[in-house]
Symmetry: C2
Subunit: 338 residues, 2 copies
């Protein structure tokens, strides 16, 4: 099934069940008022939500309304946990190579993951407000899952069964702030402002054969300022599946229902050393930093600039029939406070 | 005023107003059922809660009950944001010196802060469950504040006025996992399991003159296995006040109401190079790592061991009259899953 949170002037929005084709939706206050409420009682709520979903897909339902992606919050407008992996190790290797730094071999077996901030997610069509262009504004196209309660020290195999919903995410990054933060040794903080998630979150069963081995086997399509920038397949070159990522996050602590775990920037090697851009006939990339790294490695300096005020990014995933699975994240970068 | 969350079988517990002497409390469902609900509508809820607090302190109130610290969740049993600074730079300098690594001078002007996990805080009397003693189990005694909504790019001075509540925290650390995680460059994750906060959260006005310049000027008393381990003053050698820490956290993003910001391990220089232990007649420390560092610097190797299963830690803060301000965090380390 497909679920979303509509803006309603409250901090957590209004949970709605969305039709498969994303055309219609219906609020379900008798089941749960918000997405977190549904997740807090998933075993009870999910079958009821699923019934509504079946009814909505087969006919018009009393109380339904047109589904407007522009009215969406992120599926969880705020969450108790947001941890983002770097499962496409190819991407990590590139970052390192552009810095002339060797990547430890352990990175192929021990996932990188950072703890993100989750108190202020923004909606999929909300503007990305940044104080200064000098921060080096970049998007990062990723897949993310929402978990049920996950007990500490769970195995990767068991963790697969704790995944309740799948989404896309734009993990906005401020590249200019990253080197100083990483040098301090405490990880990302100011360099990772508010993230936005796709309008709709989807249960794994809804994805059919595209959800295989806890990976989502569909291309993540990104458009930068209306121009195709990337379409790598999220199921390819994903070194760690979502079961492994969730288990990594839960190694020393329980995860609460509604924990959001991200894949890291989707990146395909494409049979080359560094992947290939769309302009060169390749699958392109899911963030600007990656093409800049390739330019740096190949040409000695980056050519593509980071996002400026007024620039826009669109992230979407289409199924085999060309139907949007999650709706589209579509955001414009603007100067904060203007 | 003083507020707490009692265990009630729900994820967020039951908000109660607690008498100043911590002897009695009362639920206030007509104002807010949970701490987060109160924080979500603080400007409306706070005056009402304050009225109940005044009434509770002056006489017995209908519906009151004895306040039992052992029945407490952390004031926020789960939160949307938990960011922990390292405001006692002396502590950071010691860590570095024990590693023979120079501390960058910028650490005196640019706060260190890591993004913590907040979906699974444990109660102040809950056991600390750890898979293996080999993880190097340590406590860290700290002060933390809970904020109102904080807009991006706020000044440190303005940020002081966004502080709604003050607490203590035991920021449990798994020292054995830290070197590998920091080497990976993405900050702490598995090395920071669930934190526990003091039974009671307190408004700054309640602290009177002990809350000055957004610092809490009282000794943080820690007992390890019943023996006094430290009593450094949290107002001394705190390089960054809570206004600066909140502003740091909000540099590139808004903070949502209920964001928890920590001070980092409380540490006093005590007019010496490395502080002095309780046994040596000094003020001691607020974590085991610090005394191990001093032993390493002075004797070439650490002597004090990290916590073993069965070990206990107690953290408390007393006012000038010897009255417990926040109640006591009192936790035993146990093997997970036994």
């Amino acid at each position: 099934m497909k679920l979303a949170s509509l803006k309603n002037g409250q901090r957590d929005g209004q949970l709605v069940v969305v039709s498969r084709d994303l055309s219609r939706c219906i609020a379900v206050p008798a089941i749960a008022g918000t997405m977190q409420q549904a997740l807090d009682h998933w075993s009870v709520a999910a079958p009821q939500l699923s019934e509504v979903y079946q009814a909505l897909n087969s006919a018009s339902v009393h109380g339904e309304q047109p589904f407007d992606q522009a009215q969406c919050e992120s599926p969880l407008p705020r969450a108790y946990q947001w941890a983002d992996g770097s499962a496409y190790v190819n991407h990590v290797e590139l970052v390192r190579r552009a810095r002339n730094s060797e990547m430890p071999p352990s990175f192929w077996t021990d996932p990188l993951m950072y703890q993100g901030g989750s108190d202020d997610f923004i909606g999929p069509r909300d503007q990305i407000e940044v104080v200064s262009e000098d921060y080096g504004i970049d998007f990062e196209g990723e897949v993310a899952v929402i978990t049920d309660d996950v007990p500490m020290a769970i195995s990767a195999e068991e963790a697969r069964h704790k995944i309740r919903l799948v989404m896309l995410v734009n993990d906005v990054s401020l590249r200019g702030l990253i080197p100083n933060e990483l040098a301090k040794g405490f990880g990302f903080f100011q360099s990772k402002p508010a993230s936005a998630f796709s309008p709709v979150a989807v249960t794994p069963d809804e994805l059919g054969g595209d959800w295989l081995d806890a990976k989502l086997h569909l291309p993540l399509v990104s458009h930068l300022n209306g121009k195709l920038f990337g379409k790598p397949n999220a199921g390819v070159d994903m070194t760690f599946d979502f079961g492994q990522l969730v288990a990594h996050a839960a190694k020393t602590r329980n995860l609460g229902a509604g924990a959001v775990i991200g894949s890291g920037t989707v990146s395909n090697k494409q049979g080359t050393d560094y992947g290939t851009s769309i302009d060169e006939g390749g699958l392109g990339y899911s963030c600007i930093a990656e093409i800049r790294m390739i330019e740096t490695i190949r040409d000695g300096a980056p050519k593509t600039s980071f996002m400026k005020f007024g620039d826009s990014i669109r992230l979407e995933m289409l199924d085999a029939k060309g139907q949007s699975v999650f709706g589209a994240i579509e955001q414009k970068v603007v100067k904060y406070g203007v």
